[in-house]
């Protein structure tokens, strides 16, 4: 276990370092954020003064060294645009994104797994085939286009749901949540659905493939030979086996969901981290970009960790190897 944590830690540190260097060099290469932030009427002297004030006049390595130094004091830097700690700005937006991603994940699992199992058990039935055909669709539609269609249909044409924004929120333990109010839920429905559709297709396909695979296993036949009911075979023997790959993939996908939230948040004007990232990239707000990526790495690494723990809870074979090492 310790080994495992250490390995994970090592990997994420490398990822963090790679990310930080890339962003530093990259943002430096794009240009000077002062060019876009400053009032165009400012004189050249003003521009130079501002650049110095933000520490951008120093050579890149010096800026980086300073950043690393601050990092060790838990300081991810101060946003050029907002003048506030970058970490704070991002954490403020984190709940909105997490809320969206988790809801989407729930939707995709709760709908995807049963459909996938069904399609896997009855691959040649009309129902099974239509589920698969549907999932290919969900797979093929680009995320943003789905979002646009959702808006077009549900907001513009039918007027049932709001087209964007977060709606009313309730503050619980200092975190603002949408799903506790009716208005908030309404606002969340379309973006969550948008984010979920793709993953749902993925879950369906994955579950189906695994169900088919597991169905062919000798132990399923043995379970039948033991005289078990089909219900028990599906709900215990098959489901427990397919949950292993599903959980793994979903873990990875939660990470990518947070990333894909960028698109959904853009389409639905959802005030989450993804939107912030796009804005920050556009404004070359390097501290925020770096902090966002660092946070994402940390989140993804933690999710992977949780997934692995879950995984070992689900798959006893893994447990052994961990005990051993």
């Amino acid at each position: 276990m310790t080994v495992y944590l250490l390995r994970r830690l090592g990997q994420s540190l490398i990822a963090l370092a790679a990310m930080a260097i890339m962003v530093f060099v990259g943002v430096f290469a794009i240009g000077n954020p002062v060019d876009i932030l400053i009032n165009p009427e400012a004189s050249q002297a003003e521009i130079a003064a501002t650049t110095a004030r933000l520490g951008l006049d120093k050579p890149l390595w010096e800026q980086f060294a300073r950043f690393v130094g601050n990092l060790f004091q838990g300081d991810l830097g101060t946003s050029f645009v907002y003048g506030r700690p970058a970490a704070e700005i991002i954490l403020e937006r984190l709940p909105a994104t997490m809320e969206l991603a988790v809801t989407a994940l729930l939707i995709s699992v709760l709908i995807g797994v049963p459909l996938g199992v069904y399609a896997g058990l009855k691959p040649d039935s009309i129902g099974g085939r239509s589920v698969m055909a549907g999932s290919i669709f969900g797979f093929s539609l680009p995320n943003f286009w789905q979002g646009m269609l959702l808006i077009l249909v549900f907001s513009v044409l039918l007027g049932w749901l709001p087209a964007g924004g977060r709606g009313e929120t309730v503050t619980v333990l200092g975190v603002r949540l949408s799903f506790l109010t009716w208005d908030g839920l309404q606002h969340m429905l379309l973006p969550a659905l948008n984010l979920a559709l793709f993953k749902m297709s993925l879950v369906i396909r994955l579950t189906r493939a695994n169900t088919r695979e597991v169905c062919l296993q000798e132990y399923i036949k043995f379970a039948r030979a033991k005289g078990l009911s089909s219900r028990r075979i599906v709900l215990v023997h098959i489901l427990k086996n397919i949950m292993i790959p599903v959980v793994t993939i979903l873990g990875l996908e939660l990470g990518s969901m947070i990333a894909f939230a960028i698109v959904t948040e853009t389409v639905f004007a959802w005030p989450g981290m993804g939107k912030l990232l796009i804005d920050s990239i556009n404004l070359l707000d390097r501290p925020v970009i770096v902090a966002y990526l660092m946070l994402t790495v940390v989140i993804i690494v933690s999710i992977n960790l949780v997934v692995d723990l879950l995984y070992s809870a689900l798959d006893p074979r893994i447990r052994l190897s961990q005990v051993k090492s």
Binding site: I30, G31, E41, A45, F80, A269
Partner: protein
């Protein structure tokens, strides 16, 4: 009654001295006020100063309004003015400092009980305009000492601990004299303002104002149409027919923003193809040809949906310093002829730089321009980028020709002339945005004189003349003036503003 406004971008800070950004200013103008104010037409009007006069060439006297109380109850006095102006250079990490308005100020001191004297290091005719951009803070709320003494360069005394941008999230510190006070600000989601009942001026119509950032055009319109918000700024022009059809009112006004083309006139330009390394843009005939090749009306009509006005000057008339110059006529024949005369009968190849998320339909306009230039033989590639990249590359002189916009915050001709076409000179601080490096020493001289001329009439004449010189030279090519649009729910009115600000306190319920 409450008002919910959908804004296209969010204020980056509640600190009125942190970031010079129209998004910030338009929000903060609900809470704070300066000594002066600019009205919808950018005319300077009294605010916390009831009147002002130039005492001599370098000193202005502002009479302070009586009986004004800050939202925290403290009485407005000269100390607040001094404190406010003192704090400007002390704001840390400001990405765009307000020092450009205080740089010339050498001293601020009380003059009797109800006036301040502001001295500058030279004649500054624009000081009353400048101070409109410096909303006044409450020295008490900010924790100043009892006496604050002005010293230039951030050396003031009696400042106490100066609150920084992040502190302004607290309604305790964000205290102004304006009609609204800050109730809450949830970044990314909304800002809530409540009416300040002891406001000295006319009470606004709304008890509570909610400002929502809806940065994507589509959702912003959708939010209006679905009734989530009462009013939005900058609805995309292509959606206006639909919005009007749905029973919403649309108001618009010519803005102070001009969209222009600037051309590289800085020696040879190797990035232009088909000219054997010569820079055709150095030739006035070529520049004129470019201007004549552009069908501005078509752009206004087709790309801007009619919500723009073809431009012949650097500011829309009748703003200060305009001279009524006619819009260059669309004349491709003559343009071709001019090109031939200049020695480019087959045209040349050029890359037009443009931002794609900064001005209304900016990349579309650039493509339309490219189409038109292509027709007279100037094969034009469009290099559209997000604003940050565009501005960085533009400032690095990467584009032989580029499209950009300019809005004059002072509302007078000196602003575009000084920034866009005055010779680039680091020391003098002229031409900071002159990335085409156009240079006309005669015009520079004239502008310099104008800038130190306090007398308005005299100054206007000089500015008109200077502008004429540049435009006759085709040193810069105006395309169109943007028009700013607001869409409102039935029953609301808003006087459209040249400066494109959406100021909630000025939204009214129709009688």
């Amino acid at each position: 009654a409450d008002l919910v406004v959908g804004l296209k971008s969010e204020a980056t800070s509640m600190d009125p001295q942190f970031h010079q950004l129209s998004t910030n200013t338009q929000v903060l103008l609900n809470i704070f006020e300066g000594l002066t104010n600019q009205d919808a037409l950018q005319k300077v009007t009294p605010a916390l100063a009831t009147e002002w006069e130039a005492v001599d060439d370098t000193t202005w006297r502002f009479t302070l309004r009586d009986g004004v109380k800050f939202q925290n109850g403290s009485t407005f006095s000269a100390r607040d003015v001094i404190y406010t102006y003192c704090r400007v250079p002390l704001v840390e990490n400001s990405p765009s400092s307000f020092t450009i308005y205080t740089a010339t100020i050498t001293d601020v001191k009380p003059d009797g009980d109800n006036a301040v004297l502001i001295s500058t290091d030279g004649p500054n005719p624009l000081l009353p305009t400048d101070v409109a951009n410096l909303p006044l803070l409450s020295a008490d709320a900010a924790g100043a000492e009892d006496t604050v003494t002005y010293k230039p360069g951030g050396e003031c005394e009696g400042m106490g601990t100066v609150p920084q941008s992040a502190d302004f999230n607290s309604p305790e510190i964000t205290v102004g004299t304006g009609p609204y006070r800050l109730e809450s600000f949830v970044r990314g989601s909304q800002m809530v303002l409540t009416r300040y009942d002891d406001y000295w001026g006319e009470q606004p119509d709304w008890d509570k104002v909610t400002l929502r950032p809806l940065t994507s055009d589509g959702p912003r319109v959708a939010a209006l149409l679905s009734g989530d918000v009462d009013m939005i700024e900058s609805p995309p022009i292509q959606d206006l027919p639909r919005i009007e059809q749905a029973g919403y009112s649309v108001v618009d006004a010519l803005s102070n923003r001009i969209i222009y083309l600037a051309m590289d006139q800085d020696g040879e330009a190797p990035s232009i193809g088909g000219t054997d390394g010569k820079n055709p843009l150095l030739d006035k005939k070529v520049r004129e040809a470019i201007s004549l090749a552009i069908n501005r009306d078509a752009i206004v009509e087709r790309i801007m949906g009619g919500y723009a006005q073809a431009a012949g000057e650097l500011l829309p008339p009748p703003m200060f310093g305009t001279n009524g110059r006619a819009v260059d006529a669309y004349d491709p024949e003559k343009a071709k002829q001019l090109l031939t005369e200049a020695g480019y009968p087959d045209g040349f190849e050029i890359t037009l730089g443009t931002p794609n998320d900064r001005y209304i339909n900016d990349a579309q306009v650039a493509q339309a321009v490219a189409q038109m230039l292509a027709r007279i033989g100037i094969r034009t590639n469009v290099d559209a980028q997000t604003a940050s990249q565009f501005f960085s590359r533009r400032n690095a002189l990467d584009f032989p020709i580029y499209l950009a916009g300019w809005s004059a915050s002072s509302g007078e001709m000196s602003s575009p002339l000084k920034s866009l076409v005055a010779t680039y000179n680091k020391e003098a601080g002229t031409g900071p945005t002159n990335a085409g490096r156009y240079s006309n020493p005669a015009m520079d001289e004239l502008l310099k004189t104008a800038m130190t001329t306090i007398d308005d009439a005299e100054r206007e004449k000089m500015l008109q003349e200077a502008e004429q010189m540049v435009l006759d030279d085709f040193g810069i090519i105006p395309l169109h003036y943007e028009q700013t649009v607001w869409a409102l729910k039935e029953g609301l009115t808003y006087e459209p503003r040249v400066d494109q600000y959406t100021i909630a306190s000025q939204v009214h319920a129709a009688e």
